[in-house]
């Protein structure tokens, strides 16, 4: 086995430090080492987007990164969205617009959409559809998801609710407005 490397990663505002094998994929680091099971394994081939997380403010497929690459980076996973039992505005929007059915793909959709909305606070429906092209949902037919993201944009702009630690874990760009 190859020599292990020590990595230090900030996940949802909390610092994690571990020795990892270089070939350990980031998704497995999150799930098996850090114990955060909200990030889901779908296709394992960079296609479905279920494993999407936010790394230094940018959405990333965690099945297509090594954990060693995350050394020194800030990660936000779906567990970092809700705070004190209250859903994040983007989660509320998904609930209210039936943006999910079985829920398996939802963490990935939330993270892709959240990183996107931080850069594009006023997206068109076409832009939303385009940005979600790397996330697959087999239940909803996408209409509810697109509506949810559109509504989330409004909620994030006008939202005054107390929020979770998403802001601090977002890296260079603020994820909340």
């Amino acid at each position: 086995m190859a020599a292990k490397r020590r990595i230090r990663v900030t996940i949802n505002g909390q610092i994690y430090e571990h020795e990892v094998e270089p070939r350990l994929l980031l998704i497995d680091y999150l799930r098996d080492v850090a114990g955060l099971l909200g990030t889901h394994y779908g296709c394992d081939t960079t296609s479905c987007g279920a494993c999407t997380i936010i790394v230094d403010g940018r959405s990333a497929k965690s099945c297509t990164r090594f954990a060693v690459q995350a050394d020194g980076q800030e990660i936000l996973t779906v567990e970092g969205l809700a705070c004190d039992g209250r859903l994040h505005p983007i989660q509320e929007a998904f609930r209210d617009h039936h943006g999910l059915q079985c829920g398996f793909c939802t963490p990935g959709f939330l993270m892709t959409a959240l990183a996107f909305l931080s850069e594009t606070p006023d997206p068109s429906k076409d832009q939303i559809r385009e940005v979600l092209a790397g996330n697959l949902c087999r239940c909803t037919g996408y209409q509810g998801i697109v509506d949810a993201v559109e509504d989330a944009a409004t909620r994030l702009k006008t939202g005054t609710r107390k929020r979770g630690n998403a802001g601090s874990a977002a890296g260079a760009k603020p994820l909340m407005r």
């Binding site: 086995m1 190859a2 020599a3 490397r5 094998e21 270089p22 070939r23 994929l25 394992d44 081939t45 960079t46 296609s47 987007g49 999407t52 940018r58 959405s59 990333a60 497929k61 297509t64 990164r65 090594f66 060693v68 690459q69 050394d71 892709t112 996107f116 385009e130 940005v131 979600l132 092209a133 790397g134």
Partner: protein, 298 residues
């Protein structure tokens, strides 16, 4: 799916990377954004025993305009290229192509240098550098050299880079006045590799004559293809429909497609002709200052 075990080096300079490459030779692969290499490793199509991670080398991720030319650092992401406003203005062919690479997440992390070094026959960047006649700057501990895009690809997944060489920069010359381009990709579904795609760059005289044309294709052979016969045929001609038809036949003749899961040889050849004609139309309208969205085929 898991890659074979490997030793991992995170380097801070190009020189360090080159020295490690010289030492481990074919056993080593360079990791940048990982969006090409990691999938290949997970499928065990690539099995390097040593990974040299250049992702943390500082100052290699720029996209900037210098005296009208576009300079792209090897570690610039596809997303960074798209975000650079002047790209849509001056190099619309590039903007068309980059906007359909992978998906949003892949474009966030995949790098220009990494995509070129992978040399996937269906990769979009290969056709872009050929159509825009870019130059590629390569570095090793022995020094630097420049490769012309036309000399860059050797075979499928193979470039002319030496064992210890890395791409450091790609330079696109300033667009000529009243020139414009377009890149159209046919894909089976959003985010897939191309069935076939065509990039066309034209410069037109005020009288509407085609002064110069360059035409490149992706997924039309083992390497990206420059359609020389078609490009030289267009030079000096008025772009009437019979002229474009003849050029399209020459484009088809330049292709060497392989039948595969994405389509038969004949289908890809026919698609290349159709995409070429559409790309010419878009490029001509753009050269007149009209804003045209590229309608990629899906």
């Amino acid at each position: 799916m898991y890659p074979r075990a490997f030793e991992y080096f995170a380097v801070g300079t190009v020189r360090e990377a080159s020295e490690l490459l010289a030492h481990y030779a074919d056993e080593a692969r360079v990791l940048a954004g990982g969006q090409s290499l990691i999938p290949l490793m997970k499928l065990r199509l690539a099995n390097p025993s040593h990974i040299i991670d250049i992702g943390n080398i500082l100052g290699l991720d720029y996209v900037e305009e210098v005296d009208g030319a576009l300079h792209v650092g090897a570690l610039a992401t596809h997303a960074a290229v798209l975000e650079f406003a002047d790209v849509r203005e001056g190099w619309p062919l590039m903007a068309d192509a980059v906007s359909v690479i992978g998906d949003h997440q892949v474009r966030n992390w995949g790098t220009v240098g990494g995509a070129l070094a992978e040399a996937d026959p269906a990769g979009d960047w290969g056709a872009v550098i050929l159509a825009l006649k870019a130059r590629i700057r390569c570095a090793s501990s022995r020094g630097e050299r420049w490769l012309a895009a036309a000399d860059f690809f050797a075979d499928a997944y193979t470039t002319q880079l030496a064992t210890d060489e890395l791409i450091t920069e790609i330079v696109f010359r300033a667009p000529k006045r009243s020139s414009a381009g377009a890149y159209l990709k046919l894909e089976r579904r959003a985010g897939d590799f191309a069935v076939v795609s065509v990039g066309v760059q034209l410069s037109l005289t005020e009288a509407g004559l085609c002064e110069e044309a360059s035409i490149a294709l992706a997924a039309a052979g083992l390497t990206p293809i420059y359609a020389e016969e078609a490009a030289s045929f267009l030079a000096g001609k008025e772009l009437r429909s019979d002229v474009i038809d003849e050029a399209a036949r020459r484009v088809a003749a330049a292709t060497q497609p392989l039948s595969d899961i994405r389509g038969s040889e004949d289908y890809k050849r026919a698609a290349a002709q159709a995409l070429f004609k559409q790309a010419v139309e878009v490029a001509v309208r753009r050269s007149r200052g009209v804003t045209v969205e590229a309608a990629h085929g899906r």
